[in-house]
């Protein structure tokens, strides 16, 4: 499975067990991407880290 980077339009490979919410990094431009939906495959630029994120 592949998707198209929303920033640079490069092809991005998705793992076989890919899930909604999974994060990917575009190999070309380095943008962090989030899988929004699997059917059809939809990706968006991942949101920036928020103040209360973490452990």
């Amino acid at each position: 499975m592949t998707a198209t980077c929303t920033i640079c339009e490069a092809k991005v490979d998705l793992p076989n067990d890919c899930c909604e919410g999974e994060l990917l990094v575009c190999g070309d431009c380095g943008t962090e991407l989030e899988v929004i939906a699997l059917d059809p495959i939809t990706i968006e630029e991942a949101p920036q880290v928020q103040e209360d994120w973490g452990e």
């Binding site: 067990d17 919410g21 880290v49 103040e51 209360d52 994120w53 973490g54 452990e55």
Partner: protein, 279 residues
């Protein structure tokens, strides 16, 4: 059928490892992204389910736990544990009440009072957001001029940053410890080494196994008795052969701790959580 529901808003390696561990133990398990659902009086899971809340936002995780608990759903960790761990001042007060050793701390509500509090502790000291993670926005303050700058900047960052939490700086050498407690029992620990004073593995600290001796186990059991919870990740410093509890995390990340410790942390967590499902 009763199901282990792992809630998330951003899927990290930890949540996938937890699901894999559940599958290996034949535990019915669903990863559930709760970002885009709304919450009313109808629960989105059954009363026989048990929920492992792993949302990356502390505030959202605590909120979803509160909602589900009000609907009679068992949530791990509970929202009250999240509230204690998610606020460093609350954690420090709880530890102090239990007589557990920790770095000395002070709290103030204005920049001017924060400087006085810091000078009472002595330089250097560390200013931390009361709610935050991954070593974000920590400031080691070495002198009064730095203190004035840091506290003035913090005073502009919004209400949360106007509770100034200041901690004694601990000369801990080049490492600290991250220990894991599952169902009240310490299961493993790592040392995190770094040349930087912030040693989080999320910031590049190198992890190695730490053997849990009786002294550390006893301390960790005391922390669990004080905080509660089925899964805790506790950060420790050692100063002059004495252990101090630095922080207690309720949504611990563990991907970097499995290999060095040889402990299947996700397996232990899902087993403990599954055993908490309603009879």
């Amino acid at each position: 059928m009763p199901t282990l529901r792992i809630l998330f808003t951003r899927l990290r390696a930890e949540e996938k490892l937890l699901r894999e561990a559940a599958e290996k133990q034949n535990i019915p398990c669903e990863l559930q992204n709760v970002s885009n659902i709304w919450y009313g009086s109808r629960p989105f899971c059954d009363k026989g389910d048990v929920v492992l809340a792993r949302c990356i936002s502390h505030n959202q995780n605590e909120a979803v736990a509160q909602i589900l608990e009000s609907q009679g759903i068992k949530v791990v960790n509970s929202s009250s544990v999240m509230a204690l761990c998610g606020n460093k001042l609350s954690t420090s007060i709880a530890l102090a009440s239990a007589g557990i050793d920790q770095p000395e701390f002070r709290t103030a509500f204005t920049p001017e009072a924060a400087i006085e509090a810091l000078e009472d502790l002595g330089y250097p000291a560390v200013c931390k957001p009361v709610s935050g993670s991954w070593g974000r926005l920590l400031a080691k303050i070495n002198d009064r001029e730095s203190a004035e700058a840091v506290f003035e900047h913090k005073s502009m960052l919004g209400p949360m940053h106007n509770t100034f939490y200041i901690q004694e700086y601990i000369e801990k050498g080049d490492y600290d410890v991250r220990a894991f407690i599952v169902d009240g029992e310490p299961i493993c620990a790592i040392t995190r080494k770094s040349n930087h004073w912030i040693t989080n593995t999320a910031r590049g600290g190198i992890a190695s196994n730490l053997h849990l001796d009786d002294e550390v186990k006893s301390l960790l059991r005391s922390v669990h008795q004080t905080i509660g919870g089925e899964f805790l990740a506790v950060d420790l410093f050692k100063r002059d052969d004495r252990w101090l509890v630095n922080e207690v995390n309720d949504g611990g990340e563990f991907r970097n701790s499995i290999e060095p410790t040889g402990t299947d942390i996700p397996a232990a967590v899902v087993k403990a959580v599954w055993e908490k499902r309603p009879a």
